[in-house]
């Protein structure tokens, strides 16, 4: 390592001069395996005082672990679950969680640290070789096994009695069908379920009001301010006299398809004639469920009329029939045809004309 023991003959430029100084290792094969290096004793191997010190250190860690376990039990008993403490830099955290976690961490870590320290300082660290044997059997064993198998196979007559063989294979192939059939009742068939929403009950004769999601009140066109985003759900109908309520048993299922978002755009800003006609005086009712994989859309930018899905950022231009202008969604948000009833409240008189939410194989629109 030091300067002195690097002699000149190891300098690249000086090789020519060093003839005859051949290095010992070069004798015949300089790359030959010199064998396992000799074991270098550690301090604790040769110094009994160092070994004793290591022993005390290991025990100290084990004792610390014991104390920490006692601390864990004490925290469990003493600290109320709702107590918060301020701990820098974590801020306000649950005192119980912090105390239990830290004491448990110390109790476990110290056992580990003690064991590892013990192994590294006091247990033998002499490296030794063990032989490996090839995994594959030798030819004799192989031949023997194959012979045994052949004998067994011949005794079974499996190859010879074709009828038994074929019927057995047939029966084994069929019996799992019982298991497959049993899975049938996991759920109903899809039929046309995905094609319709709760709005299907709306007809011109029995329209369903659009009800504000937050206030549970029906809305008039003038309640929808330009630039705002209002969420709505179906109001009273024949099957739900109180409208869709979160106490309804199938609320989650219903809202997953029926949820609407209402916006108002100046009619002259509407680029899509069809979409304009589905709305009422610039109030448009779009499905809130993203057509990509079904997240609810929640962000609306009033200047551009863009609605953004927070899940994968599909962006829809609500002034242009909810055309997809960015992101992975494959088709526009479905729009619900709305009008007003005799009292001037916004109503739907028919279902969406296309299925809401993510697309699927049977979707024909």
């Amino acid at each position: 390592m030091s300067h002195d023991n690097i002699s000149d003959d190891k300098l690249p430029e000086a090789h020519a001069a060093s003839e005859g100084h051949g290095l010992p290792a070069v004798a015949d094969d300089p790359f030959a395996d010199p064998g396992l290096p000799a074991h270098e004793p550690r301090r604790t191997d040769i110094d009994e005082r160092a070994a004793k010190r290591a022993e005390r250190q290991v025990s100290l860690m084990f004792v610390t672990s014991m104390l920490a376990t006692v601390g864990f039990i004490a925290s469990y008993v003493a600290i109320k679950p709702d107590k918060l403490v301020y701990i820098f830099p974590l801020g306000h955290v649950s005192a119980l969680n912090f105390a239990l976690g830290m004491t448990l961490a110390v109790a476990l870590f110290c056992i580990g640290a003690g064991a590892v320290h013990w192994a590294r300082t006091l247990m033998s660290d002499v490296e030794m070789p063990a032989e490996r044997h090839p995994i594959e059997a030798d030819d004799e064993v192989r031949a023997d096994v194959i012979q045994q198998f052949k004998t067994g196979a011949a005794e079974s007559g499996f190859g010879r009695r074709k009828m038994i063989r074929n019927t057995m294979i047939g029966s084994m192939a069929m019996v799992p069908l019982a298991g497959v059939v049993l899975l049938r009742d996991l759920g109903p068939l899809p039929e046309k379920k995905l094609d319709h929403t709760g709005w299907i009950e709306a007809t011109p004769a029995a329209p369903i009001r659009l009800v504000n999601m937050n206030t549970d009140e029906p809305m008039k066109a003038e309640d929808i301010a330009v630039g705002s985003l209002t969420f709505a759900k179906p109001g009273p109908s024949a099957s739900r006299p109180n409208g869709l309520q979160d106490s309804d048993e199938d609320f989650q299922q219903a809202i997953a398809k029926d949820a609407l978002m209402l916006i108002r755009i100046q009619p002259e800003d509407l680029k899509d004639e069809k979409s304009k006609n589905l709305g009422f005086e610039g109030v448009l009712a779009y499905s809130k469920i993203c057509t990509h994989v079904g997240c609810p859309i929640s962000l609306y930018e009033q200047q551009t009329h863009h609605a953004l899905c927070p899940c994968h950022q599909s962006t829809f231009d609500l002034s242009d029939g909810a055309r997809v202008i960015f992101g992975p969604a494959g088709h526009p948000l479905p729009q619900l045809k709305i009008t007003t009833d005799t009292e001037g409240y916004l109503v739907a008189t028919q279902d969406f004309t296309v299925p809401v939410g993510p697309s699927f194989w049977e979707r024909s629109a």
Partner: protein, 551 residues
Amino acid sequence: MSSSPSTTPPAAPASTRAKPANKGEAAADYLDGRLGIYSLAKANLRKIFPDHWSFMLGEICLYTFVIIILTGVYLTLFFKPSMGEVVYNGSYAPLDGIRMSEAYASTLNISFEVRGGLLIRQIHHWAAIVFVAAMFVHMMRVFFTGAFRKPREINWVFGFLLLCLGFFDGFMGYSLPDDLLSGTGIRFMEGAVLAVPLVGTYIQMFLFGGEFPGTDIIPRFFTIHVLLIPGVMLGLLVAHLILVFYHKHTQWGGPGKTEKNVVGMPLMPVYMAKAGGFFFLVFGIIAMMSAVASVNPVWAYGPYRPDQVSTDAQPDWYMGFAEGLIRVMPGWEVRAWGHTLNLGVFIPLMLFPLVLVLIAAYPFIEGWIIGDKREHHILDRPRNVPVRTGLGAAWITLYVVLLIGGGNDLIATHFHLSLNDITYFVRVGSFVLPIAVFYITKRWCLGLQRRDKEKVLHGRETGVIKRLPHGEFIEVHAQLPQGALHTLTSHEQPQPLELPSEVDENGVARKVGLLTKTRAKLSEGYFGEGGQIPKPTVEEHQEITSGHGHH
């Protein structure tokens, strides 16, 4: 026990064993008489394990798995896997009076009422995150060192299955609390299932027991999450470890290490202490993470409602690349004959397993190209197989690029970039960057090989600068010790496959199949001139060290 009954025929074979010296030996004798433990222990008690930090990665997987099982069992004592509705009136005031599923309410209960419940929840979740990460890194270490070569290919497959199952079990666990984030994840899955051509809607209905979300999905996921997948994983894991024992661990090359031995320290006591201790270290560290860092604070998100969403919906990191795939994919939808093919979702859904299968199949592909049928127990230094190392780096790059895609909104807001730019970057990057990284890595490996060669032939740089008589400054080089020379030169350098000559010995044109040609090409890529630097030979070394050098 040891005295045999005298002559009453037919005599059962009697134990001729000497009297046990103490109670412990007596107990062991008892068990041996019934289980044959001595023969088992003979082969294993002092079994030699080689030591290297990277061999601890598999241990981390094992220990986090144990931690997950322990804490998971505890959670099942309090968690109610039900989507039945309740009105919450527990101690978390902000949600008082809110309707929610029993699953969510019981998760709140575990977090706020059960003392230590929050800690166990957090340990469970942190351990799951570390578990998958550790599996990933463990797989990479096995990959880059070539530890998957014969005879370990099947164990590689077991490991790979564990990784996939780990992904899924993590995803299902994330879905159980029925909070706003987990419900969003389930919705995502529903959309993905619906995109499957022909059978998508059927699978969806059967999985959810009706339309989304229904009331079956969480109880069903619960059974899969706590019973089915962990059961299969446990079986695979035991098989994995048995094979590690049976094959004996690989080792790095070096003095005294050969393909026919394994050099290290015995299981008892050193590895028992180290590995056992390491379990407690891992557990302790995860407990500490759970004490200081909150993970998945479900109370902050609120109960799931299909019409509500939290803006920073993000899966756990390991699902991030699937998220990236789904985010950057263009929204292609094919509509014809009254049907819709949702390629925008279906293609990512297919790419997800494909990206994984690519790496899973690699050992078999490499084995085929090289055509090497021998066992390998000495690990490759990654630099010595530049093509493999490059491919591994390319795969990681693809993964990371897609992970970036999965966090595109976070990255956009964090670094003030446009979402569009990131998306286009990821779209192009997932093709271009892996290729670029492949070439860079390969060249880098070749550079390292050259440096090794340099070191072998000219010695190691000592950092000592010397001025020669004619004024030039040079760095003093020290000849490497023989052990190091051996380590740097003992690896094999396979030669590329030779194509059989165009005509056979009778002069008749021979047909060389396309497959054979491809194989020869690939083999040339691996081991041809561009694939490796010929390692120094003894002659070269002698020539230089004996002074007939090349200057």
